[in-house]
């Protein structure tokens, strides 16, 4: 007889104390989302070019200085959050939705699985950035194309996860009992199989969001993202790279912002994983 379950009550510490990772990540992320949403009220003007002010150091007037076109770096950093968050969340939601449906049928019906698995293997073989770059090059650089291009390479990972959960649940006695009891197929799928996928999917959604934000910024950096007028963090770094020795803040302000957002999302992911499934997960 092993030690009693660690979920038994009795721990008197507060939620943040017991779940520091999740609390920290959620707090930072919440702050950033708030800042992005309320940008127009406090951030300043991200677009106006004013060559007189170019490459000014951070000061009371320009909190993070100006870039080579005299634009307010702080404002551009705050507005840049909008694109990143929009892309990250949209990619995560669409990838999860599509991947879950495919994974569900792939896991439950062997015939479907045979075809789908091959296709997913093929998709996973193409590096995500390359596929995204190619798609943007072919189809143009709007935010929606970007979301589509980043989402597609993420779908196979969701399919793989859902498929493996479905495969294991399919063998569970309670599913067999439902079959013996005459439960119809769609009820088995929705009531017995699908709920088991929810917890791992939530965790994976956050990781996908983080990956999407990184990929979007890489694309902007490489010149394959949205137009350079809109403030995106990757784009800002690309534009300012030659000014690195003279004006490092133009590169590091968006860089640090990127790092903080992705870190916050990853912390939320780790925290959720520890909360929902205390045993260490596989994808890291």
């Amino acid at each position: 007889m092993s030690a009693p379950s660690t979920n038994s009550g009795g721990s008197s510490a507060s939620f943040p104390r017991r779940h520091p990772t999740l609390s920290l990540g959620a707090a930072v992320l919440g702050l950033i989302i708030l800042a992005a949403a309320l940008a127009s009220f406090f951030a300043g003007d991200p677009l106006t070019m004013n060559p007189i002010n170019r490459l000014k150091q951070p000061s009371a007037e320009f909190w993070l200085g100006t870039d080579h076109l005299g634009r307010d770096v702080f404002a551009r950093v705050i507005y840049g959050a909008r694109v990143s968050l929009l892309v990250g969340i949209s990619v995560a939601m669409t990838a999860i939705s599509i991947g879950t449906v495919i994974g569900l049928f792939s896991g439950y019906f062997r015939a479907v699985d045979a075809i789908v698995s091959r296709f997913m293997d093929g998709l996973m073989a193409i590096p995500a950035i390359l596929l995204a770059i190619a798609m943007v090059a072919m189809l143009g650089a709007s935010v929606w194309i970007l979301i589509l291009a980043i989402m597609i390479p993420e779908v196979p990972w969701v399919v793989r996860l859902v498929r493996s959960v479905v495969l294991s649940v399919r063998e569970a006695p309670y599913v067999e009992a439902a079959q013996v009891g005459g439960t119809r197929l769609h009820v088995i799928l929705t009531r017995h199989v699908l709920p088991a996928t929810v917890a791992p999917l939530i965790v994976q959604a956050t990781y996908i969001c983080a990956a999407a934000i990184i990929i979007e910024s890489a694309l902007s950096f490489l010149g394959a993202g949205v137009s350079s007028e809109t403030a995106t963090w990757g784009g800002m770094i690309a534009e300012s790279r030659s000014y690195l020795p003279r004006a490092p803040w133009t590169v590091f302000a968006p860089g640090v912002a990127l790092a903080i957002v992705v870190l916050a999302v990853n912390l939320v992911g780790d925290g959720l994983r520890d909360l929902l499934d205390p045993r260490a997960s596989r994808r890291g």
Binding site: M1, A3, S11, V180, G181, T183
Partner: protein, 601 residues
């Protein structure tokens, strides 16, 4: 009186969830001694703290979340305050431990010889060559066949019993003074279990070591121990010589526990099953032993003829069919209304596959199943659903048999609603009735499965099976995973339901003692075939087929007086019924040695 090998005083072991949670004691104030050459058995149900006691002695509990108070002395040496380095020198050396699951207790990536030799190299500093020859000697001692060839094998190539022998060799390598055995035979088939128990006893006689034997099985206790200690929820209930304990002991709990243990041979002379006369744990009142009436023998409610289920095995370059596992081969029997027919056998004999094939969870390759007059042949979809209303199933694992996210009321009602038998309100009303019938309260309908114990969950599964008013229930090892007293209670419930509703049970089990208690008739299976079938009394009193006799002889009987009877020393282990392609199963004939009692010729 010489110093006891192990001396435990006021042991209290506590756990906590994390650094912020309070300590919860799991073992409270436990004291006992083990003398040299003696075997002490600690017996209890789950949650009694018996395994935790063993792990405390070895100090194998996780550091940050566990705490040991009290004293534990090995040969006079205090263990609780020993620095880790010295404790490590003791483990596997002065005291050794073997565990329950031989499958997972050996490192799959290391050779078995390497793992045993490791003990010798660490504790005795032997060279690789010396350790190797000594290990081979140990393999011989534990009666592992072909020891020299087996040295370089990996664990997955061995059977469960062979792996347990390797574990024993590993534990004995450095000649420990004390061997702690934590349920070492629970996961093994009963014939293998007997061999392992004999092995431990012989080795103990040879080496003079003491044994601390942890188990929940009273039969095993009476086989192996000199003295017995009974635990319940972390407390010591009583301790004494095994003979005394089995004579009834002093404490009510001990007597309640013993009343729940089926004793092979106790039903001799009685034609029909009877409930356990359970003693209430608190009041000490003895429950009645109620007989179940005989079955009506006019028309069978379930008829199985020449059932065959084979699983093809593929391999090779183009996944050609190499052969098939003949899980069920030519099985035939009838089940009558109000009757319990048990399918018994060891793992791999096909009893579970038979049950599943009857319900069409597997597709049969040949044969016929007729349920309440309807043939199951070729049924699918709506027809299959309708046929399944007459025959339902309860499974082995009470924890995996209910959807953890759905209330038990919904789980019970589900078959009723899905079969279109009525409205949701009608379903709920019927479900509430059934909850009461299985001994639970109707207020519990809204709760989730994790709020119930294993025994309660099994009752819920029975309620779910009953909601369609079936004629037959297939119980696939449904009591095997339950504690002793709970097992008896659930068996009693099934027998009560049989008396009141006229239900028939197809009782699938490997536990001969329980089968003796609950069955009208018995069918013994081996390698997918029925080798003997007949009235329970006839088969148990007069087993004819050699396998049946071997099976019955291997069952440990909870009667210390019968201890000295030895079993045969055969080491063979069952293989799976894999047949190469093109194999034609031989025709089997059965001879009738007594009315209704057939044996494979």
């Amino acid at each position: 009186m010489s110093e006891p090998v192990l001396s435990v005083r006021n042991l209290t072991t506590s756990f906590r969830a994390d650094a912020f949670s309070p300590w919860k004691p799991v073992v409270r104030n436990l004291s006992f001694d083990i003398a040299a050459g003696e075997t002490l058995a600690i017996v209890g149900e789950s949650g009694s703290g018996k395994s935790v006691t063993a792990m405390s002695a070895m100090r194998l509990l996780p550091e940050r979340t566990s705490r040991i108070e009290g004293t534990i002395r090995l040969d006079g040496r205090e263990l609780t305050s020993l620095p880790e380095a010295e404790m490590r020198a003791l483990r596997g050396n002065g005291m050794a431990m073997i565990f329950q699951e031989p499958m997972t207790s050996l490192n799959p990536m290391m050779t078995i010889g390497g793992q045993v030799a490791e003990v010798l190299r660490i504790h005795q500093g032997l060279s690789a060559a010396d350790a190797r020859s000594e290990t081979i000697g140990l393999f011989e001692k534990v009666r592992l066949p072909n020891p020299k060839d087996r040295f370089d094998l990996h664990p997955h190539k061995l059977s469960g019993g062979q792996r347990q022998r390797v574990m024993i060799a590993m534990a004995l390598a450095a000649r420990p003074r004390l061997l702690i055995a934590d349920e070492p035979t629970t996961a093994l088939d009963v014939t293998i279990q007997g061999q392992i128990l004999d092995l431990i006893k012989d080795l103990q006689a040879e080496t003079g070591m003491s044994v601390l034997f942890i188990t929940h099985d009273m039969g095993v206790v009476s086989e192996i121990s000199d003295r017995t200690l009974v635990m319940f929820r972390g407390d010591k209930i009583e301790e004494g010589t095994t003979a005394d304990i089995f004579a009834g002991g002093r404490h009510t709990y001990t007597r309640a526990l013993l009343s729940a243990v089926p004793k092979l041979g106790s039903m001799a002379g009685r034609a029909t099953p009877a409930t356990f006369g359970l003693i209430d744990m608190e009041t000490g009142k003895v429950g009645p032993e109620e007989s179940v009436p005989a079955a009506r023998s006019d028309k069978p409610v379930l008829s199985v003829r020449n059932l065959c289920t084979r699983f093809t095995v593929r391999g090779g370059l183009f996944a050609r069919v190499r052969g098939a596992v003949h899980a069920v081969e030519g099985v035939s029997f009838d089940l009558f209304p109000g009757e319990t027919l048990s399918l018994v056998g060891e793992s791999g004999c096909g009893k579970s596959s038979t049950g599943r094939t009857i319900l069409r969870l597997y597709r049969p390759d040949a044969g016929e199943v007729v349920i309440d007059g309807t043939s199951m042949q070729g049924l699918s979809g709506e027809g299959l659903r309708k046929a399944r209303r007459s025959i339902q199933m309860i499974f082995q694992d009470p924890y995996a048999s209910l959807n953890p996210r759905v209330s038990v009321g919904t789980s019970i009602s589900e078959p009723f609603i899905e079969n279109g038998l009525g409205t949701v309100e009608e379903a709920r009303a019927k479900a509430e009735d059934l909850m009461e019938k299985v001994g639970l309260s109707r207020n519990m309908m809204g709760r989730l499965p994790h709020e119930f114990s294993g025994g309660q969950r099994q009752r819920i599964c029975i309620a779910r099976a009953l909601i369609l008013d079936p004629k037959v229930i297939i119980a696939d090892e449904s009591v095997s995973a339950l504690d002793v007293s709970v097992k008896a209670q659930v068996c009693n419930l099934m027998m009560d339901l049989q008396r009141h509703l006229g239900l028939s049970f197809l009782f699938i089990s490997h536990d001969m003692a329980v089968v003796e208690r609950v069955s009208h008739r018995v069918a013994v299976m081996l390698m997918g075939e029925v080798v003997e079938i007949g009235p329970r009394d006839a088969v148990f009193a007069n087993p004819v087929h050699p396998y049946t006799r071997k099976l019955l002889a291997a069952v440990p009987v909870p009667d210390p007086a019968r201890r000295s009877l030895r079993r045969t020393q055969e080491i063979d282990e069952l293989k799976s019924p894999f047949r190469p392609r093109g194999f034609e199963p031989p025709r089997r004939d059965y001879r009738e040695v007594a009315p209704g009692h057939l044996v494979q010729a």
